[in-house]
Symmetry: C2
């Protein structure tokens, strides 16, 4: 465990320690039943006072993440099995509340640089979930998988020798040309030379972060935002500052003021059908944001998973399309709408920012597999436009159905705004609901959702949650939402709220 303490920071040391440990425990990186280092040991490891560590442990105990007892030490509390992530095969079951008895207990002391992995925790589904609404994806039956497999087969069996060689670090030239044609049809001239193929946008975010963000660098993000991006920037030791949104997207006025005192290194945004809120940034704000980046000589990381999935009018032009000075790195996934299993996305950047990203890609994995790149090429060339028109209609039908169920069954005090595109619906719940309990009860009732806290840095208590209205079939979507509304209605408001009040920072 690596706890980086910022002495002289406004955040007290014991809070820093508690925050770091809380992030890890909540991410599942420190497992239930694990014994934490003794107060004396941590005191000496970190070079702080006994009181500081004791107070940190007391905070963690107050918010019920650990239990301490005289003489026995502090243990991470057990999590209900239903809350456990199913995302790694277990060889050694956790034994009750005690330590696991394995030959690798020494590993607990092995310092790592992985402060948070909420995406990892929230990704998979436990088998008891019948109504899977937590993952932002498209129902597999709607995807053109058979066509993609056929076209991958045709292209690869025509030129098997090409599949045998390493691909280019920058990505297959023909696929980049295909993407260039795709963008040209939509009014953007993007040369294939400006592109880098990545393994999904997750890798795009990670490459930008590992190349341009280091400890203490200031990164601005919308609040809330994409869980996986928070994980990435946190792992780089960035100083993350979040900016509230209104119905035109990120509050550029607030951002501008914040930048005065904390000049940005990078601004991460999902301007179109924002994840999780669904909000679209107005054209004016996009221009303002670009201006700001130019005056601060910082980068904008524009993440665009959804712009093809609009239900009414096409969204405003991307920030990248206005960028003549190389300040924007634009990320566009093709895998989400075609084949998540293929992991193919495209980054567009200019000048030495692109060069450095290609070099980083070579260090990360020597370039993406050629087979999956070839798999998408022919489909995007010939069938994408027709396919996406149909898909939009289908997704809009789902949204309308979801909306009808919510209108009919949502308990009083619940609010939502129907998005103009994308896959997600962001629900504001009645005040005073214990979200942890709600999550547990919903899973027990067979419905999964993404707790809003996962979309915030520091995972504060929030009364939001995200559901995806496109990941299951229509029937399960409606039934699942009905069940969810019931669970919410039955959830008693939190009494006293001791934990929530004690340590608002965590």
């Amino acid at each position: 465990m690596h706890i980086e303490l910022k002495r002289g920071s406004r955040t007290k040391l014991y809070i820093q320690i508690a925050l770091t440990l809380a992030d890890r425990i909540r991410s599942g990186l420190i497992e239930p039943g694990t014994r934490l280092p003794s107060v004396r040991k941590l005191t000496s490891d970190l070079g702080v006072s006994l009181v500081t560590v004791s107070k940190a442990y007391a905070e963690l105990e107050a918010i019920q993440l650990i239990t301490c007892s005289q003489g026995k030490g502090c243990y991470v509390r057990g999590v209900q099995e239903s809350e456990r992530s199913g995302n790694i095969d277990k060889m050694y079951p956790v034994q009750g509340n005690g330590e696991k008895n394995t030959p690798w207990n020494w590993q607990m002391a092995l310092v790592d640089y992985l402060p948070r992995a909420q995406l990892w925790r929230h990704f998979d589904t436990s088998p008891q979930v019948r109504y899977e609404l937590h993952m932002s994806a498209i129902q597999p039956e709607l995807l053109p998988t058979r066509e993609i497999i056929e076209s991958a087969y045709r292209l690869s069996s025509d030129h098997p020798e090409r599949m045998a060689a390493y691909g280019s670090f920058q990505g297959d030239r023909e696929l980049r040309q295909t993407f260039a044609d795709h963008f040209a049809e939509r009014g953007s001239q993007v040369m294939p030379e400006r592109m880098l193929i990545t393994s999904g946008t997750q890798q795009g975010i990670d490459l930008v972060a590992r190349t341009f963000v280091g400890p203490g660098d200031v990164v601005y993000m919308e609040a809330p935002t994409y869980t996986g991006a928070i994980d990435v920037f946190t792992s780089r030791g960035a100083k993350i500052i979040t900016v509230p949104m209104d119905d035109e997207g990120m509050r550029i006025d607030l951002l501008t003021r914040l930048c005065d005192t904390h000049p940005p290194k990078l601004i991460y945004t999902i301007p179109t059908f924002h994840n999780p809120t669904g909000i679209t940034m107005s054209a004016q704000r996009r221009a303002q944001l670009l201006n700001l980046a130019q005056s601060y000589h910082c980068l904008i990381l524009e993440d665009d998973p959804f712009s093809d999935l609009y239900f009414r009018a096409p969204p405003p032009a991307s920030i990248k399309s206005m960028d003549l000075t190389g300040h924007v790195v634009y990320l566009k996934t093709f895998s989400k709408v075609l084949s998540p299993g293929c992991r193919v996305a495209c980054a567009i950047a200019d000048g030495s920012v692109l060069t450095r990203l290609v070099a980083a890609k070579s260090t990360a994995d020597l370039g993406s597999p050629l087979l999956t790149q070839k798999a998408l090429q022919s489909f995007i060339q010939h069938q994408y436009s027709a396919y996406i028109r149909q898909l939009r209609d289908e997704l809009y039908t789902r949204l309308s159905a979801a909306s009808a169920v919510l209108e009919a069954h949502a308990p009083p005090g619940m609010f939502w705004v129907l998005p103009d595109g994308g896959l997600n619906l962001w629900l504001q719940l009645p005040d005073g609901i214990d979200m942890r309990e709600l999550h547990r009860h919903a899973l027990a009732a067979g419905v999964s959702f993404l707790p809003g806290s996962a979309c915030y840095v520091g995972e504060p208590d929030t009364s939001n949650l995200r559901i995806c209205f496109t990941v299951t079939d229509m029937e399960r979507l409606c039934e699942g939402l009905r069940v969810l509304c019931n669970v919410i209605a039955n959830e008693a408001p939190l009494k006293g709220g001791a934990a929530a009040d004690r340590l608002p920072l965590i």
Copy 2:
């Protein structure tokens, strides 16, 4: 550019600055023709004295990486076109010796965390190279590409819906079971639960580094070693200490002494048919190394690309096979011997080390593509063993042929040891050859090789080079080696050796 200065280090500040800049220039991350920041600017950025920066620039000028002139500033020297890496499409040609005139000149001042990318620089081939000997790979015609494509097609078209979903972060369960069976046939019991599928071993190295190695952490490596691993650990800010080898591999006696003063966080090794030297670590040394790791509670990263490619007897058992305490992360690529374009490798680890690696994989790219994982599965199940027997014979035939050419044509003073397996041959050249000139002349004559300096931290002048005897067909291999021997024979020993003597550290 991010220059991390260690004040109080034994290495003087001006040397630290010069080393960092030299790494970047040699990697191509600062391009020829680029104007370096003025002495005054860098002085203020780094908070050092004018004299320090001036001395750093003087050193870089002395080793002919930059040219400075009164009033005009310092520029990165041009590199012969033949030496340029062909690994990124260029949109804006470098204009003579001047600055490039682009709208993104501001990017030069954008700090990054990418100190070195030698792998990126040395990977691709310029079109003039007829005899490609630099890349460690197997000739595409020898690989079972058609069979792999067919089996990928069969498996994926039987279950198209599976291809449509995100895979598991840890990797496809069936593929891991296939690997488990593969290891079991070779005498190792490895449960699928202990495996993580990565996109090539390059990603495996990177995941281990990003999870467990941070600034100042001590990493031991063999000298020389795999270029891509040096790039990764350098990018994490590790304190890399290299350990010489003899014919039994890494000198554990020296390592033990070094560990007394610099306790290890991680030891990276390629124990079997080591890259680039071909040396195999003895069974005794393997056991000693594991002992050492256990006593220091550090990790061993065992990189095993070649153990199936032995020419005589099978190599000693892996270090991982002796590891009962979870100290070893073992990396085995299947993509090098089957399909480099598929990028499928396997990491084996235990306990929370594995858990943390899976979480890091989720942050890095949400898991490897399912299509490529499925592509290899059936071939490994049914055909791998027969295929690899044949491949070994073929590779050994190549090695014998290469050996015969070298015996006949190598100039006096050239030495090599024939490896017992793997793909590489490490040549020791006569003293006093200017390797940079040799490389330029060899490329001009149509032969590529990997300069030995790329396999060392800090890229010292060395008189070694690596060739791969398996990447071209037999005829080109022999012809290419004859041409290379000629070029070496014609290369006059370096006169004076001013550059080499001036700054041995760089």
